[in-house]
Symmetry: C2
Subunit: 407 residues, 2 copies
């Protein structure tokens, strides 16, 4: 199988995660593309080949050094040399995007940048490919995980901005110098990139007014909660009658808004249009492995046109007896010892109970239980045993519970 050579610029967190991922998923990439992806070299601040050497040895350049120079010159040079480029550099694209996009179109090569906006949340691909045939009227985004974590913390704990920021720093969700996150500039760069894709209008970072969260008080969050509102740092890119508007500012959301439940260090983007109404994409904000996953998805797409049809199968056994937690409703006789009898029956079948609710009296008495996970076959046997108990007035009612508690 021929090699597909990937030159990497940058040796930071994302670069390291990318190399690891590529190693792990090389076989799958080969099955999709018919080529073997290999890293032809890595340039970091202090080591590696010269850029000219790396370029000569590469079919595609992954740019992860960030900042404007030398990223801009190197990406331009790569595109002009007919090499594909995948980048996660929001500063570069929000300030010099047009120059790079034009160079890519002129050379007929791919320039992909999913990792530059919301990490693994696939806003760029969905906007430019899934919705290629749709009119977009508005993009709303929570595109900065640091600020979303801080606002969630303030809402949940009633803590001040300063306290919540310290907590974010302690947990690694905020950097030592968080200025560009908390003042909205990071989100503004990302919204400039999304607005460009949604409306075919060049948008420079300098043209995006932004306002951060430093001045938000726990007081305002508490007052607004009485109106049912949740506070988020919202990036907006929308068509307005005479043109478009792109901006970033804190905003309250009504409960039904698709971005209202997005809490903690998460990112999410809602795309709106008259044909499809709305689509919301959400996931963890940019971390090393998340951004690297986005970069690898872009690399695989650049290696070939996307898979034209599902891959040939590599079958795994399809199982039916799997684990689940359960909700169990038992209409019981109102006599002493019922709970003990039920609990013993469950314990005898190896089922451990997580929550119990006892309600009603006499002909109304009911036990409602939530179990921990157990093999379905085991649980079914326990329910059969319970159904045979004299204290049961009606057949047990059973519904599965997804065990995971997210976020």
């Amino acid at each position: 199988m021929s090699e597909f050579r990937i030159g990497v610029l940058g040796r930071g967190t994302v670069g390291g995660a990318f190399a690891t991922l590529l190693e792990e998923h090389r076989a799958r990439a080969e099955r999709i593309t018919g080529l073997t992806p290999v890293i032809s070299g890595v340039i970091s601040r202090s080591s590696g080949p010269t850029f000219a050497e790396l370029l000569a040895d590469s079919d595609l350049i992954v740019e992860l050094i960030g900042g404007i120079e030398p990223a801009r010159s190197w990406v331009l040079e790569a595109l002009k040399a007919g090499k594909h480029v995948v980048t996660a550099n929001k500063q570069l694209l929000s300030q010099h995007g047009e120059e790079l996009y034009e160079a890519a179109r002129d050379a007929g090569v791919q320039l992909r940048f999913e990792g530059a906006v919301a990490g693994v949340v696939p806003a760029v691909r969905v906007l430019s490919e899934s919705l290629a045939g749709a009119r977009i009227t508005r993009v709303h985004g929570i595109v900065n995980g640091t600020t979303n974590f801080i606002l969630t913390e303030m809402a949940r704990q009633g803590s001040s901005y300063t306290q919540a920021l310290a907590e974010a720093q302690r947990l690694g969700y905020a950097e030592a110098d968080p200025s560009e996150d908390v003042n909205g500039k990071d989100a503004a760069a990302k919204m400039a990139i999304l607005a460009r894709l949604a409306f075919d209008t060049p948008v420079h970072l300098d043209q995006v007014p932004y306002d951060g969260i430093e001045h938000i008080t726990a007081d305002d969050i508490a007052y607004a909660r009485e109106f049912g509102l949740a506070l988020k740092l919202i990036g907006t890119a929308e068509r307005v009658e005479e043109g478009i508007s792109v901006r970033v500012h804190p905003a309250f959301l009504y409960p039904g808004h698709p971005l209202a439940p997005v809490d903690g260090p998460f990112n999410a983007v809602t795309l709106e249009g008259p044909d499809f109404t709305e689509v919301t994409l959400s996931g963890p904000g940019a971390g090393g492995p998340q951004t690297a996953t986005a970069v690898l998805g872009d690399v695989v797409s650049a290696m070939i046109p996307p898979a034209s049809a599902p891959l040939a199968v590599r079958p795994r056994p399809l199982l039916t007896d799997v684990e689940s937690a359960f909700y169990l409703h038992l209409a019981v006789a109102d006599v002493p010892g019922v709970l003990a009898t039920v609990a013993k029956t469950l314990a005898d079948h190896g089922i451990s109970v997580r929550l119990v609710l006892q309600r009603g009296q006499g002909g109304d008495a009911a036990l409602t239980l939530i179990t921990h996970v157990v093999l379905e076959s085991k649980f079914e046997a326990a329910v059969e045993a319970l159904a045979g108990l004299e204290v049961l007035r009606r057949p047990p009612r059973v519904i599965r519970v997804l065990e995971e508690e997210f976020r």
Copy 2:
């Protein structure tokens, strides 16, 4: 510009919406692909060319007739003739997918089917392209809008299954014969398709155990709410130690789960993997225009490899003074007539108030208001006027409110 000829099978709701969308967005498709997409013919039950005639006249076939035959034979014939196919047919793919996928791979043509799973929610593309380089461990989906509407209605109104179904039918969210929606079979077909993509294992509809919502009582929903749980019809496809498991059943979700807030006739899919943790995609379930949007996205992708770089610009003016609703916090003197003074100032600036909260006494008194939308410049002028009022003890605090109440 050369033509790209699209033969359409089916003249139903989605087919009609597709023709309309294509007309509206032809110019954009031309800019992306360099080709002019035209509909070369439409076959319906009672009219149109023969399939052989249509095939000879088409570069791509859009299959929207549903069911197994003649859809299966025609799609196969098209693929073997070297034509791309875009389909929204979940029955066909969940029962004869492998035969079709193999034919597409053998012919080196594209077979795309975003519209077959969750309408415009881009689960297929994100799974097969964005996450092409990632290990998927689980897919959870709310992939049937009818049942999600019914369960939401039961939870919100306390109504019975029968009442909620009648309401769904009245609003057009359920068909006259809703059997395959409410018994889980429709969701099972969609999960079979997603499982195939996630795990490269052929999954036939007959291999997916499913359980519907007909037996759910409002009682169970109410009890579980005391534990903080929300009920959804959940499709699961997951890796388990020795293989994979694919199934559909009602399940309770804990509050933090990304699918817990998905209410009403919406669809959503959560993809999980160790590298990227999780990504959730959500939007309205399949309606004509939603599915047609997904179909058109697939058609544009099949016309060429996806845009390698953003399109050349077609600039629109970038505006800065736009409309917003506002949260306004005023620390006021506790004297009679304060609310009247504030209200008059706002009214003089053309600002209409949606909600007011009056709190505290003496040095603690505060007015909190939510306005309706207004031009930002107008609102700023009003705030300046308010700041000059004698009754104000501190500068006003202002935060934007997104006006929309979704769903």
